[in-house]
Chain length 305, copies 2
């Protein structure tokens, strides 16, 4: 990055967002449920609504089937499977902080070999606990989902009106008219599978879990924890004086945590979230790691003396 | 619990669920999108559909406003705030396994004081990392949500047809007819706030985060981790021989992990999930903790010898 680019990015951190002001001006009409059409008589409004609905339906039906366009847009990180990226982030978030803090704490006892032994024990404990624990949790989450689907299906054959009622409640809450609800229910009456899906997804807020990914997911999280936790441990292998090991470990981790926080933000919020946000998240990761490491070091120092 | 009750519960573990067979028989018609009405001519079917839709709407409108009835039903654990319970579960899940495994590993070095020092360092590291890390993550999640809402609102005033199109896409996917979509969009045209809410909740799958709970949530998770991690550490305070400490710690943790897994299932799946499921989850927690502790102990033993 050139110096000018860095300067521009840092300057961007302090600029007030224009869209905030724009939004503030728009909040008021939205609160009063005003539409952007301006004043119209009833007939004009009716025609405008019809035209808009028709247009929306045509565009929507054109757009169906290539729904995953959005995901391929944007930055470098979107080229990877988002579920794998999310697993790596989960593993690294813990793996970069807890083992760092623990090894920093143990270093206060003044024995490099002890730091390495304790650190390795922590890496194995954490990786297995997160990996195996995550695997079993994902399994039971998926079981829960299928149980709910089963319940809903059985319920549909026992009392189809109950499922209809649940769907109607969801639509009522949104503020849809009774007439629309009636035609909605009639539409889905010929496809009960879709009706049940609708109630489960939007009424109960349950998403279908990714089937068969439990094992890969657990392995990814566990490995990410292990590899992340290895970073702060590495300097102690090469420094015979434990204090030097600690200092190198702290420097390495400040850089690593910042980079991780920065990249994590790009991945989870997309490239368009702004450099400002990424910098803040980077600093927050450094803060979390430093506070934990500082507290662990101080505690061990107090116990030991 | 009486002996008979225990016997019945254990017997229940091996009974094949009746509802599974029932479901298998029903899956077939559902796959073919058959309705439970049996055979009817078009007019009869139309009348039946109308009657059912009307009934569903009447029941739904009666049921609105007392939506939280469901949550007060069921077991003992539902009396507590589910968000607090969920935070406690998150904290305990890690707090009961990682510190247990680490202290078991360190005990292999044969020094009780070292186990306590290392264990305390781990508790502080983990509690701060989970608490502070969770706090910052919740903050940025809430920021992300409000950013998305802002984007959607700005987008609505710039191009209201885009929001309409997104809503239409959601409905299309469910399999609703164009006519219903048109009347849906017309209904919500007078309440753009609801339309935007619909797109954010059902189109983008974002739920409004609990505002102002970040701090309480972080504190609860951190405290639960700390207290959970204290359980396996406690025996080492009272046993001068580290091997005795390890044995007591393992026994205490097998019981604790089982109880935690059992209660966790009651809380997250509700009392009606069956004793079978709760037993399995209890054993799975014991398994996770034991594997992690065994691996950590073996590793430290190998490094030390």
């Amino acid at each position: 990055m050139s110096l000018v680019a860095i300067k521009n990015q840092v300057a961007g951190l302090f600029k007030r967002s224009n869209s905030d002001e724009h939004l503030a001006r728009l909040e008021e009409p939205l609160r009063n449920n005003q539409t952007p059409y301006g004043s119209m008589n009833d007939e004009e409004r009716d025609r405008a609504q019809d035209a808009m609905a028709e247009e929306a339906i045509i565009s929507a039906s054109k757009n169906m089937g290539n729904d995953d366009d959005d995901e391929n847009e944007g930055g470098f990180w979107n080229r990877f499977d988002p579920r794998v990226m999310s697993d790596i982030i989960i593993g690294l978030s813990d793996g970069l902080t807890v083992p760092f803090a623990l090894t920093a704490g143990l270093s206060s006892l003044g024995d490099s070999k002890l730091v390495i032994t304790g650190g390795m024990a922590e890496l194995v404990s954490g990786a297995i606990s997160m990996g195996l624990g995550g695997f079993l949790a994902a399994k039971s989450e998926s079981e829960y989902y299928h149980n709910q689907v089963k319940k809903e299906k059985l319920g549909f054959f026992k009392r189809p009106e109950a499922v209809n009622q649940e769907a109607a409640e969801v639509l009522f809450e949104i503020g849809v008219s009774e007439q629309t609800i009636a035609s909605f229910l009639k539409d889905l009456d010929t496809t009960p599978k879709n009706l049940i899906d609708f109630v489960i997804r939007f009424g109960k807020g349950l998403e279908e879990p990714a089937e068969g990914r439990e094992f890969t997911s657990a392995l990814t999280i566990g490995l990410a924890y292990f590899l992340g936790g290895f970073v702060p441990l590495l300097p102690y292998f090469f420094c015979s004086v434990v204090k030097t090991g600690l200092i190198v470990s702290v420097i390495v981790m400040i850089v690593t945590l910042f980079i991780f926080g920065y990249i994590k933000t790009s991945v989870s919020l997309g490239e368009d979230c702004g450099v400002h946000k990424k910098f803040i998240e980077g600093f927050q990761m450094v803060l979390t790691g430093s506070v934990a490491a500082g507290a662990a070091w101080s505690l061990v120092f107090l116990i030991d003396n």
